[in-house]
Subunit: 338 residues, 2 copies
């Protein structure tokens, strides 16, 4: 491996001079600078960022921890985060927890041992508290994305889950649905709780009561679990519409409905949170509450960089991004009203 010492020797200067040329610090005569530059090019020198980080106590690496890399919401978010990070001169270390607390914990250890300068953290759920506290103990700045953790004070970028849920359910009620199932994420994820609240409020504001047997909980990534759906379909008075708490759950639900020979929206309407990214354009089908995924990443990263480079003692900020109701083909009035 080529080091500054190799460069220094060939150029007939000290290592420190080479370092100064690389970093454009200190005073260097034009002649020396040129000579060193030439040798660096000739030898194809690339600085060792670990050695540099070790002494500078700064890695220039930021980490983005998402919960599902196959979910277009998070990949679009990742693009936003990447753009903001690169623009500010940081490298990005991606990590993917797969909605799995243990995997998340493993990545947090990796993040700590890499001594990244900051973390953009989409938690798996309330249990992530410990992992975030671990970051706090080690004084790594972080911004929490998408899901709020009750006991954590931090910069936050969230979607408006309650409002989005209300819009979706209102839409269904407006179409005439009275029996609307909610297939929700786990109750220890804040978005799931708020989506339930929105679901509930929409009912109450329309003078409808909420029937608990129509509300079930799954992990956001368990989109192949069919038992919950089974129970709903065999209900004595089955739902005419389903509100899936996120896009991946909707994927699983629609797939299962098809296997059972049920048509969407012919037999049952389906709505969900989150879009499907570019892919969605192929066949815009699902009625969704669309969240500005790219903005999540971009803003989150900006907050993070701001906290790292700016006044770290400033107050914590909380940004809530609105979601938009996109009415498409997966919803129609219930059969009996047609």
């Amino acid at each position: 491996m080529i080091t500054i010492y190799d460069i220094a020797e060939k150029a007939g200067v000290s290592a420190m001079t080479v370092s100064r040329v690389i970093n454009q610090t200190g005073r260097i005569s034009e002649a020396t600078r040129k000579r060193v530059r030439k040798v660096m090019e000739d030898l194809n020198y690339i600085p060792n960022s670990m050695a540099r980080s070790l002494v500078l106590q700064k890695t220039n690496i930021l980490s983005l921890l998402i919960t599902d890399i196959t979910n277009p919401f998070y990949t679009t978010l990742a693009r936003g985060a990447e753009d903001a990070a690169l623009r500010a001169g940081y490298r990005l270390l991606f990590a993917n927890s797969d909605e799995d607390y243990a995997k998340e914990k493993g990545y947090v250890e990796m993040i700590l041992s890499t001594r990244v300068d900051g973390v953009l953290f989409a938690p798996t759920g309330d249990q992530s508290l410990e992992n975030l506290q671990q970051l706090q103990k080690h004084q790594i700045p972080f911004v929490v994305l998408d899901r709020e953790i009750p006991e954590i004070e931090a910069d936050l970028v969230l979607g408006d889950s309650k409002e989005g849920a209300r819009k979706l359910v209102d839409h269904l009620i407006g179409l005439g649905h009275r029996r609307i199932a909610l297939i929700n994420g786990s109750p220890d994820v804040s978005t799931a709780r708020l989506r339930y609240t929105g679901y509930r409020e929409a009912h109450l504001l329309s003078g409808l009561s909420v029937e608990d047997s129509l509300v079930v909980h799954l992990n956001y990534r368990d989109f192949h679990d069919e038992t919950a759906l089974d129970a709903l379909l065999h209900h004595e008075n089955p739902p005419t519409a389903i509100f899936a708490a996120n896009n991946m759950l909707a994927v699983g639900i629609i797939q299962s409905l098809r296997h059972r020979g049920l048509q969407v929206p012919g037999d049952i309407s389906v709505v969900c949170f989150d879009d499907f990214g570019p892919v969605d354009a192929i066949n815009p089908f699902l009625t969704v509450a669309s969240q500005p995924a790219y903005q999540f990443g971009l803003l989150g990263m900006q907050l993070l960089i701001d906290r790292i480079e700016g006044d770290s003692a400033q107050e914590h900020r909380k940004m809530i991004l609105p979601s938009e109701l996109l009415i498409r083909a997966s919803t129609q009035p219930p059969k009996e009203n047609r």
Copy 2:
């Protein structure tokens, strides 16, 4: 930051002893080991992997460079790569070139300065040659994914582009299509060349001639470019079917067709390469040549790790993964045959 020296002091031993406890090397009495362990836990010690890498000359980081993080083919591939890397005890540094040579070059520099142990490299195209040569110069092992680079000797994991293209076009010909457009990737990407070859062979084997005015080239990510499609649709004798060289191109094409009020497959049939990941299950629509994306990542990563840990002088291996024709709703016989 807590270092082994802090631990050493508190435990009343030397730093070396702490290092031995961490790495389970050398001889340590059970009593000392326990004492050191205890202090490590109390102080919440996490080793500094940069310091370690610096002396060991090994980072335990592998890099995955993909060309489009919003493309489900690559995110599914990423999951495969991640699983294989974690299983073997490596961390993974993701990078996303956005089909952009300059961005790819930037990431290669980052990869080199991070001194990763190896790279799983999905090139943007033939121009990636320089970036790969840069890796070679610095003796970083790599495996090339998805796209072959003519002058590079390396382990390779490819799909069978020619065969897949032939299957797709045969399917269209079988339906009665005689005027099939190809909206291809850039000709300096090997998959685009091979897909053209497959397209051509399918025609010739069926006794049809290839009309060059029906073949256009775009960048794989230019899925919003409408000029190519415009030209095809205003052709004096327009195509009855379109073969899009990848999924993202198909996305753009279908979207544009809709804007123009054209139905798929009613007015025109569309097929493409690559699936849409889990998302696709919502509304399986496009007839595609599906490639085993997860396997691409998993196998590629295994080859890479094998080359790093095994005999690095072994011969280069080339794996070609088959693609599968999935006939769905985006194709039907041309209007005049119905």
